[in-house]
């Protein structure tokens, strides 16, 4: 029994929306990485090197083949800082942003 094509139209539309969502997120991630593919399977060494790359270039996923580092790189460092919350990553992030605003006085929610 052949299925009339009208019966498949809803499924086509649903499939198209799935495709749109997936490719849309993929595109945004690609753009956010500076038109580069995601890194994956990163070990601690890779994380450390990406941290170092950031200190050298100043942009996320930036790369440079400069032989000598700028003078300020010798003493550059980054430290991960977090404010205290008893519900870390359990509730909505906007609530945590509000809390951060109260604590630090920084109300710029980008």
């Amino acid at each position: 029994m052949p299925v009339p094509f009208e019966g498949l139209i809803p499924y086509t539309i649903m499939g198209m929306f799935f495709g749109l969502a997936g490719h849309g997120v993929g595109f945004i991630r690609y753009w956010d990485n500076g038109w580069k593919n995601d890194r994956f399977n990163l070990d601690e060494y890779d994380q450390k090197m990406m941290q170092r790359d950031f200190l050298l270039t100043g942009i996320k996923r930036g790369q440079t083949s400069e032989a000598v580092a700028p003078e300020h790189f010798k003493t550059a460092q980054t430290e991960l800082q977090r404010y205290y919350t008893p519900y870390r990553d359990q509730f909505f992030s906007f609530r945590e942003r509000l809390y951060r605003g109260y604590v630090t006085g920084n109300w710029e929610f980008e």
Partner: protein
């Protein structure tokens, strides 16, 4: 002069108030990021093997040798810098082709064999360095039919690169 006491001052120069003591030798740090370093790793190894070995022997002899092996460590850094500056001088475009491919492919060497071949050719010709992967039966860049020959995008970009090189000459 009074800038330190001016509360409206929101900009200042970030000067290191605790510099290293004078008895620790100065060195220029390596400025290349992860992908170029991976791309150049075997060439750095080829030129700097004696310095690297010396450094590791020093560390073995001094129980880690954080302070004792600073001099040897400085030599390792200087040697790596010399290789990188030579690569930038003689093979800048090929180097860039290879490390940009690596950066697109999660630093997977197998995905960038085509651009690596071009880069190798330039380095062998200009810097006279060898590529020697230690502890393997067969060197991958000498293999006739490797399993991973590079991604299709790498092949395409390499071909375009060769074409543009030819049209320049």
């Amino acid at each position: 002069m009074l800038g330190e006491f001016n509360i409206a001052r929101h900009e200042w120069e970030n000067v290191d108030k605790n510099p290293l003591p004078a008895d620790i030798p100065e060195v220029e740090e390596v400025g290349a990021t992860s992908a170029p370093l991976l791309s150049a790793a075997y060439f750095i190894g080829a030129r700097c093997k004696p310095y690297n070995d010396d450094f590791l022997l020093c560390k073995d002899a001094n129980n880690g040798g954080t302070v004792e092996c600073l001099k040897e460590g400085r030599r390792v850094t200087r040697c790596a810098v010399s290789v990188l500056s030579d690569l930038n001088k003689y093979c800048f475009d090929e180097f860039k082709l290879n490390y940009e491919c690596l950066e697109q492919n999660n630093h997977n060497l197998g995905a960038c064999r085509n651009s690596e071949k071009i880069f190798n050719k330039c380095v062998f010709a200009n810097l006279k360095l060898t590529k020697q992967i230690p502890g393997v039966k067969e060197q991958i860049h000498l293999k006739e039919n490797p399993i991973y020959t590079g991604t299709s995008n790498d092949k395409k970009i390499s071909k375009e690169f060769l074409k543009s090189k030819e049209s320049q000459n």
